[in-house]
Symmetry: C2
Subunit: 117 residues, 2 copies
Amino acid sequence: MSRKLPEPSVDELDLTAILGALVDPARRTIMTVMYRGAEPFDCSASTWCANLGLTPPTVSHHFRTLREAGLTRTVVDGRTRNVRVRKEDVEKRFPGLLDALLTHEHDMDAIDRMARP
Amino acid sequence: MSRKLPEPSVDELDLTAILGALVDPARRTIMTVMYRGAEPFDCSASTWCANLGLTPPTVSHHFRTLREAGLTRTVVDGRTRNVRVRKEDVEKRFPGLLDALLTHEHDMDAIDRMARP
DNA sequence: GAGAGACTTCGACGGTGATCGAATCATGGC
DNA sequence: GCCATGATTCGATCACCGTCGAAGTCTCTC
């Protein structure tokens, strides 16, 4: 049994909210890792905490912000959370946006760390 | 005799600064108008004030933010200021970014108003 | 030169957001 | 059913940003 956390529909996607979410470097790192990695993505918060140098509350806050901006979809299944980027939805509304924003990231450190199984 | 106001070089263009500049709806409107209009663009601040519903200090602040983010180039010539979007520079560093961000603006009202000579 | 007009800078205010520690909640195992 | 574990929420704090009024600066004109 799994439940999907609330998220805006495609029509509700707002550019200001999306940009507001992607201004933060930590959130952009999260998005870049998930955007270029295999999906669905297992995001144990503790792993993110270590790689981003942030505490659990802050990481939780970032994931909520991304989801509420419509950039990610979170499915809760038991105690694990599957988060994946809503590529098609965002692409439909703002073509080329994710590619333009998430393919030129400079600090690949966290990305490389997260890539390890 | 004209002088160019200080601006970051292409190598100094920072995605966080650019997104921070474009998060604000007023600045995004300014950029959209200039990006899609003919350039160079005569930006009498009083016109912007009327169309954006903002006071001169605020408009001045927005233009400064855009310039310091590397999105615009301002050339002062006497008492007139010519501002134009640094399309090539931004495109060189972040391909497709401006197109993705400035071609789906919803509120065309200010854009239409500014379009009139 | 002196004044008028237009933009910028300065100072302040209110709001928003990132961050953390502490408390709370939910889940799986005993 | 109850505890241990891991994430979320709550509350507070700090910094940053948008906005404006007032003061300052620059330029053109007379």
